[in-house]
């Protein structure tokens, strides 16, 4: 590793310049929150699975950066160290971690995170999750 290049890259001006460019690139890309596309091939067939979540909490839409991987587990880029079998559990953790965004919280501790199961018995928050999946299967070459 070139120490001089490392030193140069570490300068706050270098980091700042890089991050400005990166944030501009990201802001110019289309956002498709709560929407993911999985593709696979099986016996010559191309499988495309589009999943879209419509989540409301207390009647208000919650637009989360969700994704579903090939094993069917759900992840959210706002929660980089979590992965869930159920999006219901995911939304419970979002409510725990981001109460200011959810609003109407009754004095919940901003910094605390409760296990989803325990939380379910405590919260009066009304959650609704609907999941629509479209499976398109087409013969390759047609």
């Amino acid at each position: 590793m070139d120490s001089k290049k490392l030193e140069k890259a570490a300068e706050p001006s270098s980091i700042g310049d890089y991050l400005v460019k990166l944030s501009q690139q990201l802001s110019s890309q289309p956002h498709q929150h709560s929407h993911s596309v999985r593709t696979a091939e099986h016996k010559g067939h191309k499988i495309v699975i589009e999943t879209h979540y419509k989540i409301t909490v207390d009647g208000k839409t919650l637009d989360l950066p969700l994704g579903v991987d090939d094993s069917g587990e759900v992840h959210c880029h706002s929660l980089p160290n979590y992965q869930f079998l159920s999006v219901v559990d995911l939304v419970k953790v979002v409510i725990d971690l981001f109460p200011d965004e959810i609003g109407g919280s009754s004095g919940h501790d901003h910094g605390s995170m409760k296990p989803p199961k325990r939380e379910a018995t405590k919260k009066a928050a009304k959650k609704k999750s609907s999941k629509s999946s479209k499976i398109a299967k087409s013969k390759k070459g047609k």
Binding site: L6, I15, L19, S78, Y82
Partner: protein, 322 residues
């Protein structure tokens, strides 16, 4: 000359220098404002420390390659997890050396598995949470060097956080921790040893369901007797508060965790050789994670690649490697 990275609980000099260094970086204006990063609100100055917070958040939103359904991004959920964080730590370490005016300074690490071996009730009373180290739990944290004081402008302030909906917002608040609130225990040495015994480095499907060492250390999969989150992920979740969202470098404990993760990777390489997968010839569906792909960082081009950071012994070594 290579610097030495020490266990923060065994080296008071490294501990105190680290605390002083991150506080200096927090007080140093980077020359950039929140507006430069399209963060809504006033054009508040961004500190050098907070550049790293913003970097971590943005890296999470760079999908590699774009549109991959596994959710692999330029820093997480795939093979690049360890090389990317190694670069991040190197750049922070360079900045700490600069503000400390000490080219021999090495980032300390937190051997969290040693605390994980203690009874659960004693894990939150480890010396790392003492007043002379990282301080304790709270919303906000009120003890130690990162305690919040509303009347003291020099007290540790969180200025930018990642939101649930994936954006960044400005705040002016104290650091939050909720030790052991979400998961009761830290990872244990036995789990670390099982991870170190895994080969290869990574494997198909190169994501959060992979069977290799990287995925076990990142913490998406655990041994049969333990439930996720594991190892690295579990430490984030156990500390909680500001360690949980995409802006987790807001807590200086972030770097102690990742320095330990980096140390464990070094230990794995000493056992298995400085090898990495996927190879340079892997398909483009793994772009951003292959051996010779550029690591997303301030150093453009191919200067930082997984291949280039496999052996960093000219930069730093550890006082002890498992």
């Amino acid at each position: 000359m290579a610097v030495r990275r020490h266990n923060i609980l065994n080296n008071a000099t490294a501990r105190d220098a680290y605390i002083r260094g991150v506080r200096l970086l927090k007080a140093e204006a980077s020359g950039r404002t929140m507006a430069d990063f399209s963060i809504p609100g006033p054009a508040t100055s961004v500190s050098t420390y907070d550049l790293f917070v913003i970097w971590h958040h943005l890296a999470m939103n760079v999908f590699t390659p774009p549109g991959n359904s596994a959710g692999r991004n330029s820093a997480h959920r795939g093979p690049i997890f360890l090389p990317w964080h190694r670069v991040m730590l190197l750049l922070l370490e360079q900045n700490l050396q600069r503000v400390l005016n000490d080219t021999t300074f090495g980032l300390p690490y937190w051997d969290w598995a040693a605390d994980g071996d203690r009874p659960p009730a004693r894990q939150t009373s480890s010396r790392i949470w003492a007043n002379n180290c990282m301080g304790g739990s709270g919303n906000p944290v009120t003890t130690g060097p990162f305690a919040f004081s509303p009347t003291n402008r020099t007290s540790w302030r969180v200025r930018v956080i990642g939101t649930g909906t994936g954006s960044m917002v400005q705040v002016n608040q104290g650091l939050r921790r909720a030790l052991a609130a979400s998961v009761a225990t830290l990872p244990r040495t036995a789990s670390v040893n099982l991870a170190l015994a895994l080969t290869p480095f990574d494997a198909s499907t190169w994501d959060t369901s992979s069977s290799g060492f990287r995925n076990r250390l990142e913490g998406w999969r655990t041994e049969a007797t333990t439930s996720p989150p594991g190892l690295h992920n579990r430490v984030h979740v156990w500390v909680g508060g500001d360690m949980a969202p995409s802006s987790s470098p807001n807590d200086p404990v972030f770097y102690l965790n990742h320095c330990n993760v980096d140390r464990l990777w070094e230990g794995w390489m000493l056992r298995n050789g400085r090898t990495y997968l996927p190879s340079a010839s892997a398909p483009t569906s793994l772009s951003g994670h292959r051996l010779n792909d550029p690591i997303s960082s301030p150093l453009s081009g191919a200067a930082f690649t997984p291949a280039s950071v496999l052996n960093v012994t000219t930069q730093y070594t550890y006082d002890a490697v498992p």
